[in-house]
């Protein structure tokens, strides 16, 4: 690997590492099993039908847990290797072999996929465990676990693939699983519509990814990471910019970034474990993974990188603002997710300096956001599936475990030291400030808004006056703590939320990822690091204080007040994301289709029907000549003969 590092291309001021894996040996030959186990689980549960109802959830959890165990073993094995030997590939079989195009089903295990493996299988297993309790009363629990396993398998395929086509396979797989799980309660029209919406918007993004892959095949003749990372220096900047922008479109679709963000809020119609696993911790971060993985493209495509930064900055503010106005606890968390993924994308867009922090924030976010979603699920469980925070209040005594774990997640997300979110978000803001003051200030502002809306959520749910169980609400709610099978995952995730920051200890994660993303030269930020940290904490504190005065100190009405500012109305309406889609895409598209169908009816069909009408009319007239009288026909013959003779005479 050291010899291969010499081959890396010199670009701008940093070096881009080439992906040059060695063949798998020892424990790494088990790599394929990580994907195969949940896939097998899904197959057994889906094909086994109701015979597996009794133990289906246990099998689903077991396959996921076994994948986690193998991931852990591999991770430890990887730790034992030299830094230069931490890229391992496993060739399963030749997948596509057409002419000059050879695409194998290859797996790549490197520091980046190792971290993702641990996150997906680890958090995934915890959520499996949680779901055993959460879905206990659902008659279709076995099917739910089948879908969850399918999702885990597809997600693992996504992050373990050594080429973009395999990644695309996983990418579509998680899209399918997401669709199935959002619409899991398909008897609810809103859930069915949300699933459809997520699927359709994701198709737009997938088209971008697909086009990017085609462009790579045309440009490089290969889709493998190793091939493209070695060849990317030879391509023109324009081509790489296009590839980068198309990859960004794909990432926007999957990661709910502006302008393809509209589906994520509706995706909350799915069961809460799904929201936690797919729409907070793992799948939606696939876009960040894609951009980080494609660092060898983005490093040489400055325009695409700029586009990533712009999208990320817009999204992190967009999501934060939406989060401020939502009364639905899950939708509030979804807005927060959008915003946090915006931070990750921002980190990824900042280049070599930011990749590691993007992944770091991704991991910590995976912990604390899963924690909070599961906590929200626990609250909903207690409140008879009521999601409106205006009906909560003063639940801290009723749900002590949920409250404490949720609080850990809360402190982590707003970035209170020394919780995990503090370390990761602070690093991204710091790097952003180095890169561009405007972006950095926007990120800082986002952190403040995060402090505001998370505090608002915390207060409305666990503090303030209790607004449930009263006569006028008509509800007969008796909040109770969730069973152990649900609280234990909460506790584990809360612990991770607290301790996730340890990954930064001794700059470990940056060094760990440097074989994949390259090593950045250190730039001095415009202000001393400690000052930036203090400013960040101060801004967050201001947000928290604002929330305390606006929500905590006042009466929270059970029904959302209607006479609110324009900004609040806009935020409640998802900043008119749906309206923008409706106006820019759906309405013109519908109008186009309508005019096309009208054109098809009147012009294309009209040409045919009109032609036949004219022919039929002519025939109607001409058939009068066919009167059956042979003498009439003979007259025609004589007339013809007359014309013939007349012609002869005239011509002569």
């Amino acid at each position: 690997m050291n010899a291969l590092t010499a081959l890396t291309l010199k670009a701008s001021e940093t070096t881009i590492p080439v992906v040059a894996p060695t063949d798998a040996d020892g424990p790494f030959t088990l790599l394929w099993l990580i994907i195969a186990l949940p896939l097998l689980g899904a197959a057994v549960l889906l094909l086994g039908g109701r015979y597996t109802d009794k133990w289906g959830h246990l099998l689903g959890t077991a396959t996921s847990a076994m994948s986690f165990v193998i991931s852990l073993v591999l991770f430890v094995s990887l730790l034992g290797r030299d830094e230069g030997e931490r890229q391992i590939s496993q060739h399963l079989y030749d997948w596509i072999d057409a002419g000059g195009l050879h695409i194998g089903l290859d797996l790549l295990y490197d520091p980046l996929s190792a971290l993702f493996l641990l996150l997906i299988t680890g958090v995934g297993s915890l959520i499996h465990v949680y779901s055993i309790g959460y879905m206990a009363h659902d008659p279709r629990r076995r099917r739910f676990f089948a879908y969850l396993n399918l999702f885990v398998a597809a997600m693992l395929m996504l992050i373990l693939s050594e080429n973009y086509v395999g990644l695309f396979l996983g990418w579509e797989g998680v899209g399918l699983a997401s669709y199935l799980l959002i619409g899991f309660w398909q008897h609810k029209p809103s859930a069915a519509a949300a699933a459809k919406k997520a699927f359709v918007i994701n198709r737009v993004g997938d088209m971008g990814l697909g086009l990017a892959i085609f462009l790579m095949i045309v440009t490089f003749g290969t889709t493998s990471f190793s091939g493209i990372s070695a060849l990317s220096g030879g391509a023109t900047e324009t081509t790489l910019n296009w590839v980068g922008v198309l990859l960004l479109v794909g990432a926007c679709g999957k990661s709910a970034q502006v302008p393809l963000q509209a589906w994520l809020l509706d995706a909350m119609e799915g069961p809460t474990p799904v929201s936690a696993l797919i729409h907070a911790a793992t799948m939606v971060t696939a876009g960040v993974y894609l951009i980080t993985r494609s660092n060898f493209v983005f490093e040489l495509a400055p325009a695409a990188q700029t586009a990533v930064i712009i999208v990320a900055t817009v999204t992190l503010l967009w999501g934060a603002i939406i989060g401020c106005a939502k009364d639905d606890i899950k939708k509030g968390l979804a807005g927060s997710t959008m915003s946090q993924i915006g931070y990750m994308m921002l980190g990824a867009g900042l280049g070599v300096a930011g990749y590691a922090f993007a992944i770091f924030h991704l991991l910590t976010h995976g912990f604390f956001k899963a924690n909070m979603f599961l906590g929200a699920g626990s609250v909903m469980h207690a409140m008879d599936d009521d999601v409106d925070m205006r009906h909560y209040g003063a639940l801290n005594k009723m749900l002590p475990v949920t409250f404490l774990t949720f609080a850990m997640g809360y402190l982590a997300i707003i970035g209170v030291p020394p919780f995990a979110g503090f370390w990761s978000k602070d690093k991204i803001i710091e790097t952003a400030l180095v890169e561009s003051p405007i972006v950095g200030i926007c990120a800082l502002l986002g952190a403040g808004i995060t402090g505001f809306y998370m505090t608002r959520m915390m207060l409305m749910t666990f503090f303030t006056d209790k607004r449930w169980g009263s006569t006028d609400s008509g509800g007969d709610v008796h909040p109770h703590e969730s069973p152990k099978v649900m609280t234990i995952p909460l506790i584990v995730l809360a612990a991770l939320s607290v301790l996730g920051g340890l990954m930064l200890a001794g700059n470990w994660i940056v060094d760990w990822l440097s074989p994949v993303v390259g090593h950045a030269e250190h730039h001095e930020p415009p202000l001393p690091v400690i000052v930036i940290t203090l400013i960040t904490v101060a801004v967050v504190a201001a947000g928290v204080a604002l929330a305390w005065f606006l929500v905590g100190k006042q009466e929270v009405p059970r029904v959302a007040p209607a006479d609110v500012s324009i900004a609040t109305k806009a935020a409640r309406a998802d900043l008119y994301g749906d309206a923008i889609n409706e106006g820019l895409v759906v309405t013109p598209g519908r109008a186009t289709v309508r005019s096309l169908t009208a054109g098809d009816r009147s012009i294309v069909d009209g040409l045919f029907t009109g032609g036949t009408t004219v022919l039929a009319g002519t025939g109607e007239l001409l058939r009068r000549l066919q009167n059956g009288y042979v003498r009439s026909y003979a007259l025609g013959i004589l007339g013809g003969a007359l014309l013939l003779v007349l012609t002869l005479v005239v011509v002569n």
Partner: protein, 97 residues
Amino acid sequence: MTEYIVLSAILFTIGSIGVLTRRNAIVVFMCVELMLNACNLAFIAFARQHGNLDGQIAAFFVMVVAAAEVVVGLAIIMTIFRTRRSASVDDVSLLKF
């Protein structure tokens, strides 16, 4: 020689008008025969004009064909008459729109 051809043309036209105006199938047939004979006259006149016998041979074959035609045509008329009790060509007008 032109007068023979003119006579032939006149007879042919009279025959064709007969075909168009008469309704008794047998008379129509007679008119057809008249047309054929008019053609024969032209053939024979031209044979003499050009001094070779090909025209006469043609006329001969016209007669052969006319004979065959008359046989079949009259048989058809008989058949129609047997079923419809009428020899009018206008009665046989079912084959139409």
